[in-house]
Amino acid sequence: MGMTMVEKILARASGQAAVRAGEVVEPGVDLAMSHENAALVINQFHEIYQGTGLEAQVWDPSKIAIIFDHRVPAESAKTATNQKKVREFVAAQGIARFHDIRGDEGGICHQILPENGYVRPGMVVVGTDSHTTSHGALGAFAFGVGATEMASIWTLGRALNIEVPGTVKVIVEGVFPEYVLPKDLILALIGQLTAEGANFKVIEFHGAAIRSMPTSGRLTICNMAVEAGATSGIVVPDDETRHYLREVAGVAEAVPLLAPDLDAPYERTIAIDAGALVPQIACPHTVDNVKPVTAVAGTPVQQIVIGSCTNGRLDDIAVAAGILAGKQVARGVRMLVFPASGRIFQEAMKAGYLTTLMEAGAVVANSGCGPCLGVHQGALGDGEVALSTTNRNFKGRMGNPNSEVYLCSPAVAAASAVAGVITDPRKGG
């Protein structure tokens, strides 16, 4: 019997001819990413070395990436001190792939990794962030781990005692209708699978609608695979992957691709017709509480957020600018835009999107996670409602347990910003 994508990747990374779902392996890690929580990883890393008499040295500094994004610029003295501690560690260990708070090379970790060509097809990527699943967009097996697990990887260079996950195959055929975006696809899928429908599994994406999807959209769908509980999402890499790595990420060397075997074993297959999709929305307070936008159209909102590792990319900002051009953000609504990286910020500026958005009344803020996790900018007041292109709407996520967050595509967010109420972009846009 053949192997799925994740089985092939884990077989290669653990030096075996073949592995099967359920087997326990110790794959070598090709890329280990952390953000501000590197502060905790460093603490645990030193704990591991405690009493060994050995000098605490990471296994391979060239395979570690650290990106500041969650609280940038620092919102408190405590965060600033943590960031300082991480900078010192990075310098001492010789970690070159360090992205500090900068307008040229800074941004959200799940944008920085792909746009710098750090992720390639077939890699094993781990990150101390649950949305590390994003990097499956480039054909890597990428999954989130906790800080202690990362400290262990920094020490040994391998992920210990990993059970090879089973795979759910999702085949998406057809062509997306206007104003229906990859975000609508992944929300619809999460609604169908539920928040734990893919727990401990990998979601492998196939089909014509995926093949014709740009890498930005693939990042969106793999990003949110974790919201169905998945260990990772993965797209079979193809010409688009090569194109992205060469043209956008500036990778000069050849990029070998890999594909699952035709007789690979899947636990379950789900078919979706992109042409039949309508704009979706995840209602408070769970990501799987998904409805067509029309079901909650007319609900007043006070804050609109466009950004995050899910939908803060150039094409997301372009969609919003297209809808808001010549229009105004409704009075009583705050529209906040957070480009996912400094590079995207500059591109959006050069393309005129940011001017369009600001003329409409939006506030454009620096690249970073922004209000997505409720620690920095854009917290909500009691009883307020936010409509956001981010990926989580758990109670308290945007900084206030007495508020509500709806999740949607940038088209829905922009159309709703104009109307001041939740709006289907196919009509109001």
Binding site: K78, D129, N199, G374, R392, G396
Partner: protein, 164 residues
């Protein structure tokens, strides 16, 4: 034997267990003060030391979904709480095992606050209801880490073995 001090439903996210706004606090010695900060009454009783070690939180499906933040596990480990849930989200389960937080997968568990539970390797006995519920073993792949008492100790041993 432990008393149920909190009963929760399905899909309890790490944003509820340990809200994002306290993530700048990382040390396991400091995180417990923010555990369930948005359940103020529970948080106050926890900080007041009202729950003896081994007190139990009972939850439904998918406990610990969401963020990979390890503070969610360390904040529960500090006061030595035990989590009995119908099912856990992957990263939280790994973090719990890595930190030595006692987690029990008990798909049929029925228990209310104040119930007394007795936790065995293969079953949870609810003494108050006089009922017993089967336990699903933790992932076999993680047994060695469990035996070592956590991932720090386990990795340290592996490191020393490799450098010999």
């Amino acid at each position: 034997m432990g008393k149920v001090v909190l009963k929760l439903g399905d899909d309890i996210s790490t944003d509820i267990i340990y809200p994002g706004r306290f993530m700048a606090t990382v040390l396991p010695t400091e995180t417990p003060q923010y555990t369930f900060a948005d359940l103020p009454e529970f948080n106050a009783r926890l900080k007041a030391g009202e729950f003896p070690p081994g007190s139990v939180i009972v939850a439904g499906d998918n406990f610990g979904c969401g963020s990979s933040r390890e503070q969610a596990a360390s904040g529960l480990k500090g006061p030595d709480l035990v989590i009995v849930a119908r099912h856990f989200a992957r990263i939280f389960l790994q973090n719990a095992i890595n930190l030595g937080l006692q987690v029990v997968i008990c798909p049929e568990i029925e228990a209310n606050e104040e119930d007394e539970l007795e936790i065995h390797a293969d079953r949870v006995v609810n003494l108050t209801r006089e009922e017993s519920f089967a336990v699903v073993p933790l992932p076999a792949a993680r047994q060695a880490i469990l035996v070592a008492g956590g991932l720090v100790a386990y990795t340290r041993q592996r490191l020393l073995d490799e450098r010999k």
